[in-house]
Symmetry: C2
Subunit: 516 residues, 2 copies
């Protein structure tokens, strides 16, 4: 279709009712600030297979148990709940974890400071959040380097301007230029100041989790925070079968204040779990159930998410691999296990071991993102920006993945079967041997017809060569630079800003800088 047709389409577009006499299988308009999936789920295990994994997880919990380390309060709570406790080892009688999880909500709202951006986590919904945790950043111009608070702010801004990201995330990169014991303040502040999307709290110490809650109270009001979930927080298990004191401390702060914990076994199969999918699934289910059940001991009804980060190590080098078929199988199976447990599920993303935004990065990321979306993952951390097995956040990769997230959303909305979409009149009008480029139906619908990639080059080879023969990474470099240059911060009440600044100043003055 050439530009003339597009212009003609705009002129000729009649304001007639978008009446839908036919049935609509899916509503194409994104009415929610997250994905409300309309297509059927992809599965990989039968009900019988899932029951086998569940039985094995119960065996692991009952016979082997899970270590709850350096947290006397956790041990006390477990003893009270009827677990068999020896030192830090907690063995859960069959059925106890599943019983405790009956109080966990099937879905919950995470409120954003802009109510239009609040997200519903669980059910048929999918929320995309950016990369989490990399100490390094990379872009085509500056190469690979340690992340700084400026990089952190840049990624928050890029997530804010992307219509395809529903969440601002958490540690979008480590601001290594700030002291470890204080950087959480600047990270949480950056999410609040430079975005109005929902965000994550700090988990690196109980005191930092408490600071996160306090800052949220300054933004939302203490009464709102007491009654609602405004923070989602990543609690990793130390697989195999350990929850450490740092994570337990943060978990207890968040669960007690009704903020959401994502309890995530972090597993490279072959190293932290058996070298098979079935063994890994049983172990990760046991770990997730133990950690999630513990949130319900702290506060029955506290929102909790079944998290899974699972990949395989290379059996040749010991290095983590991503985008593997076994990783996809385990992701889809874990989503099935979470649904049977009745809790929201976190996994997936755009994962890769590649060091640069090349074809390896794209294949591996797509191989993770596709099962993520098709398995109905509810909260997708690392949805964009991942490089190098999570050690590095890539600027070009960030906007390349974001474009893919936009496509995933269109896929998940399903096929419109309304009368206009059925297009029988158009087929009658055009008939055999002609074309649809100038057809009335085409002119009326082309503007919303197909997803428009911001980065794909669909031109002829001649045009592409005339444009400089750039690869996608080069186009992505230009795009994120344009996006940052055009960024405008969302409004923030000056009184709230001041309160946040003075809280941060006070907390920073309270102790010397430290890098632990």
């Amino acid at each position: 279709m050439d530009g003339d047709v597009a212009a003609e389409g705009r002129r000729g577009r009649r304001g007639r009712d978008a009446r839908r006499a036919g049935r609509a299988e899916a509503d194409r308009a994104p009415a929610t600030p997250y994905i409300a999936r309309k297509v059927p789920l992809t599965e990989v295990l039968s009900a019988e297979g899932l029951a086998l994994i569940e039985a094995n997880a119960e065996t692991i919990l009952a016979e082997i148990g899970v270590d709850f380390r350096d947290d006397a309060e956790a041990i006390r709570l477990w003893r009270e709940a009827g677990a068999e406790v020896q030192g830090e080892r907690v063995r859960l009688p069959r059925g106890l974890a599943r019983h405790l999880l009956k109080t966990a909500p099937a879905h919950f709202t995470q409120h954003a400071r802009n109510p239009a951006r609040s997200v519903e986590i669980g059910g048929d919904n999918t929320v995309f959040a950016p990369v989490y945790g990399p100490p390094f950043v990379r872009d085509l111009e500056g190469g690979r380097r340690y992340g700084t608070i400026e990089d952190f702010r840049n990624f928050v801004k890029l997530a804010y301007v992307s219509p395809h990201l529903h969440h601002s995330g958490g540690t979008v990169c480590e601001p290594v230029d700030l002291p470890v014991n204080k950087r959480h303040l600047d990270m949480v502040y950056s999410h609040i100041r430079y975005s109005d999307k929902p965000f994550m709290g700090s988990v690196t110490a109980a005191s930092r989790a408490a600071d996160s809650v306090r800052m949220a109270e300054l933004v939302f009001g203490a009464d709102v925070v007491a009654a609602n979930t405004v923070l989602v927080n990543l609690i990793n298990c130390n697989s195999p079968l350990v929850l450490d004191g740092t994570m337990l401390g943060a978990l207890r702060i968040y669960a007690a204040t009704n903020q959401a914990c994502i309890v995530s076994p972090f597993i490279l199969a072959g190293a932290m779990s058996p070298v098979t999918a079935a063994g890994t699934l049983a172990q990760l289910l046991a770990e997730a159930m133990a950690g999630m059940a513990f949130t319900q001991l702290v506060r029955p009804g506290a929102p909790v998410v079944f998290g899974t980060f699972v990949s395989a190590v290379s059996m040749q080098s010991g290095a983590p691999t991503f985008g593997s078929p076994e990783g996809a199988q385990m992701l889809v199976a874990a989503a099935q296990l979470a649904r049977r447990l009745g809790v929201p599920f976190r996994s997936g993303g755009s994962l890769t071991a590649s060091k640069m935004p090349d074809a390896q990065a794209a294949y591996e990321s797509a191989n993770t993102l596709q099962p993520t979306v098709q398995a109905g993952v509810n909260f997708v951390l690392h949805a964009c920006g991942w490089l190098e097995g999570g050690l590095c956040a890539g600027y070009e990769k960030f906007v390349m993945d974001a474009d893919q997230l936009g496509m995933a959303a269109v896929y998940a909305r399903g096929i419109d079967l309304g009368e206009a979409a059925q297009a029988l009149d158009a087929i009658r009008e055009v008939g055999p041997g002609s074309h649809y480029l100038g057809a009335t139906h085409t002119r009326e619908h082309f503007e919303t017809a197909f997803y428009r990639s911001a980065l794909a080059d669909n031109n002829s080879v001649e045009q592409w060569e005339a444009d400089g023969s750039h690869d996608m990474a080069a186009r992505a470099h230009a795009l994120w630079k344009r996006q940052l240059a055009a960024y405008e911060a969302p409004p923030l009440d000056p009184g709230i800003d001041e309160a946040l600044q003075s809280f941060m100043a006070e907390r920073k003055a309270a102790e010397p800088d430290s890098n632990v």
Copy 2:
């Protein structure tokens, strides 16, 4: 895992029975020279939605009709079958096409000259065949250029040596250095001489289809060809709603000799079909049903495949786009329609509009390949090597995609739930807080545990830099060169070779070179 553990594993690997006391959800060993899928299918439309599309397709066939051009015999057969014929326009009363298709087999065997490589097309099976049709080729060293018979042979050899390709394909590239009216002889010969996998016949003229059958008879024996399917052949529709004389001529030759036709609407939605998925699906179903039903008029019981090549044009430039969410939706929905019709289905591949093997090529290819595999496509043309919307066959892209096909096969085999895979003893042995790298179970299973990519770099950034900071395309360049250098032709009976050579010489001498 380091090299020592690997070596130890080999030494320590005991020859104990691979007894499977537990239930196995899937058999991981590839017992067939194609993929026998064990995982559930992905779907995108409900039964109600599919019925709506089917009703619209019947409306199109009955009210609008399909043009069968330049083929008086086709018109005669349709008139006899009860269609309403006006000139070349054939209108099929509701239900006629579906009724005629009752004689089409649900699946069939395509025999290879090496019986161990014969493939089963249909049912739960998936067969991967390489790129088809590009006039240009590209590699990192030689750049983009017209394809030659040497390139053609190279791609046949690369498909032969890859364990992930089940089929040698057809026009892996156009050998532009040979005259159009004779190149089909060298193409078919190359598939026979340089591979022993199943292959495709020529469709560019009825006489060339007949030559393809004759050459197959020289290889398999005329009696074998008469009783079996040894050729699969791509019959494209001229969408919208036209089958032209060239394609009909080839179709009639193949169907009459019991060779398989893939009747494929070739649709860029917005240009050759309505700008919506629902409209496009109804049209492509109508086209496929009309063409497939025609094969049953020629010879009831002839093997036929429901083909679909569907993508969207850019509504900005008119250029074809690939890897789009709408393309994936239409692919999955068409697979559902084919299953309801009870015939094998062809679609998918590793499609991209990118001019080079960059991230765009990989995202788009993965976005096509994943739904292809998950929707249970039976015959996957363009499974590897596609660049530039099909105008160019890429050497690096060929081996990069082939690596992805290997991963897809592992995914499709599903999760092993046998007792050894459940690994409960391993979890007991390791317990909380340790690791699995040296565990007995790991040592016994690591060699077959995870798919090993030939091209992914999973090393540390330091190691990757020490190795030259190569992207995947550079590694792919080295790989295909190594593969071609190591290629050894499969044995071919010298008598058969001589018969083929003399048939070709005779046919070439029979008419002057021509480029039509």
